[in-house]
Amino acid sequence: MTDRYDQENILGYIEGELDDAQRDAFEAVLAHDHELRNLVSQMRLDREALRSLGNEPVPVGLIDHVIQAQERSELLGDPEAPEPLPLTMPVNRYKLRRVLAYSGIAAVLLLSAALVVPTLMPSGLLDYKAGFAKNDSGPDATNATSPDVGSGLAMIDEDAVYDESATRSLARVDADHNLPAQDKVVATDTTEPVEVKIEQPQPAFADAKQVTPEEQPVAPVAPTLAMADQADTADALASGRDVAREVELEEPGSPTVTIAEVTEVAAAGAELILEVDDTELAKAETDRLLDDHATLALAPKPDPFMGYGNAPVVTDQTQLLVNASSPTQARRDIRDWAMANSVRVIEEPAARTVRESGSHPSATLRRASAFSLTQAGEPTTNTADLIVEIDQEKLPDLLVFLNRTPSQHAELVTLADTDTVMHQSGPADERSLKRTENRQARDDGHADSNDQPKAQANRKVDTKSAWPKTGLATGLAPMASPSDRGSRQPETDTADDTRQRSDPEAETAPAPATAQPFDWSKLLSNLTVQPVSPPTPLLQPEPRERLRLRVIIQQVADEAHDDEK
């Protein structure tokens, strides 16, 4: 029967998906076709009846049965049961681990052979070979000239030239493995924290040739890694400058090791932070790579923010919103500046994601930025923002940096005092409150502790006024008048702010394009301050379990240089 009709039209009518014209046309057809009208009507009734069926209550204990079955399968290893839940280890990781294990064993054997054989020679176990030597004058490593490395030990047997070849072999093994020769490694713990302590290095031979600092490897990592990273690391150490970078090598069959940071540690050597996939791999890498001149310890967990540059841990950070025509270039510029000045700058990694959820102050800052730009008569389009967090002490330097270069891709717009924002959000952060109040008292010239009750009484007003006072004036100065960038002094008088908010004329007067006292009350009225916290990585890629290892690489003792000289 329905073959006569357009089924899609009928279905569209039943589902209510036809537009007005289609519905009118179809109803006109229905008006003349009683049979079709009856069928469509009944179908619509069926549809409504099905929708009214609703949901039946779930039997009690359904989930419990599932959970129990899951636990039982995990305990008994039922092959038909579900797999265990923890799924942090991908399947192919097992293959990689197997390859790594074999590679590690091979490397350890080679390294052991390189270390043990030369040790046995002076102890007399291999001295019988010296009896066949034509020249029994003893070891003299400084005269080693032969480039033949692979045949070093063979030459001992065939030519009985113990003194030269043995020492040369040892030296070349060291050079090839980027390791000094004779340090003793003591592994103190096999579980976390992984720690390897190195005893004082002692040369195998008192008069053996010592590796010069230029030849001395800096990063005792895998050969593949060393080939890729040694040059840069050595340059970094030679220049005496801190370097932070990330190099991730993912060659087939090789471990994924990220050199996260390389820092200079006093005059002793370098500090290298490795990131490896898991603890077992870290141990394997420890045994294989960090055999000598290295101290391995667990490094602190990485900052949830993506940081670069290195500096002492900062306690009083300021969050900045940088409007940039090219965020990438701005990010690069700020990163270069941070690295050149040893300043730690933390960039918000998931600004966009978090901004969408509105759960981060970036949304607040963005609103503040747009509002302030509107007040200052500046265009707000064609810009993107970049939020960084910086030590407040370094803030003036960054301001100078951003304002100095005409071709700078970024313009600093808004600053927010993290501490104050935290306080405004309501959590009982007494330290933050204390700092804020102290800062205000200092700014107002009332650092006396007798004013504490007054500050407590005016807490709400004071903290609100302190929020823009800390940075907004500084940040807005270049926006108000590009020619005056950097010349405007930050506002420091809280009373002025209060007066400004209470002045109705100030609120109603239009904001001129030139630098004017900013109407903070309007800005504050548009702000909903939220606590500053690391963004929840909701929509980020699943983080891999990685272990950060801090490796302190010790340089050759000064005595060695003296001996060489």
């Binding site: 329905t2 089924q7 899609e8 009928i10 279905l11 039943i14 069928l39 009944q42 179908m43 069926d46 549809r47 009846a49 099905l50 929708r51 009214s52 069926l53 949901n55 039946e56 209550p57 779930v58 039997p59 359904l62 989930i63 049965h65 599932v66 959970i67 079955a69 899951q70 049961a81 579900p82 797999e83 265990p84 839940l85 923890p86 799924l87 942090t88 959820s357 929840t536 909701l538 929509l539 699943e542």
Partner: protein, 217 residues
């Protein structure tokens, strides 16, 4: 459950958090149970199938790549599991009916099926009002429908999914969803009419009905 909350929960489950797993299953068990119930038309069977579904969810959540929604993915599992259960039950039922026909030659397969379907009805004597009769008839008609038709009706009318979601769940094109939905509605209407005729026949047998209603397939 909001997508972001779902993502959080999913991430926790993947990290092996049993509490998150419990929350996730609790959040979706009602929906999955009702899908199973509408498909298999019997509460005990639905509970059994739903338990299997939840086990499969636990088993396969590591392989869930997020190409479709989590709910869609779970519903698809529920659909497949329900259809699989119905096929097994159909085989068992056929064997059982064959055996019973040997012992009682006078009872044909259709009447045995009808008795079995009648047993699955829940209304008591007090509920025999017209609306509940209509709903019961509708449930029975749904139970008599072909699995594919019942699936598309469950997803569209009971779960109220749109065409795209039904397409993802059943893994068929949207055009097929529409045509199948129309035919399912038509088959349902015909089956309800048939049941009304049978019911008005004061217990008369319906020898014409010998299996699932496939409509104009």
């Amino acid at each position: 459950m909001t997508p972001s909350a779902e993502q959080v929960l999913l991430a926790k489950v993947r990290r092996g958090d049993p509490q998150a797993l419990g929350e996730l299953l609790t959040a979706y068990q009602g929906r999955l149970y009702n899908v199973c119930l509408r498909m298999v038309s019997h509460p005990d069977d639905a509970a059994e199938v739903c338990q299997d579904v939840l086990m499969k969810v636990v088993q396969g959540i590591s392989r869930f790549r997020g190409e479709s929604g989590l709910a869609t993915w779970m519903t698809r599992i529920a659909m497949n599991q329900s259809i699989s259960h119905l096929r097994k039950r159909r085989i068992r039922r056929t064997i059982s009916l064959d055996q019973s026909s040997q012992t009682d030659p006078g009872d044909d397969q259709a009447s045995a099926l009808r008795h079995q379907l009648a047993d699955s009805r829940e209304p008591g004597p007090d509920q025999r009002v017209q609306d509940s009769e209509m709903l019961d008839r509708l449930r029975q008609a749904m139970a008599n429908l072909d699995d594919d038709f019942r699936a598309v009706l469950v997803l569209r009318d009971i779960e109220q999914l749109d065409y795209a979601q039904i397409s993802q769940t059943l893994d068929i094109p949207v055009g097929t969803v529409k045509s199948r939905l129309f035919r399912a509605r038509l088959a349902l209407r015909q089956e309800v009419d048939r049941l009304c005729t049978v019911g008005g026949d004061a217990g008369g047998s319906s020898g014409e009905h010998s299996g699932a209603v496939g409509g104009e397939r």
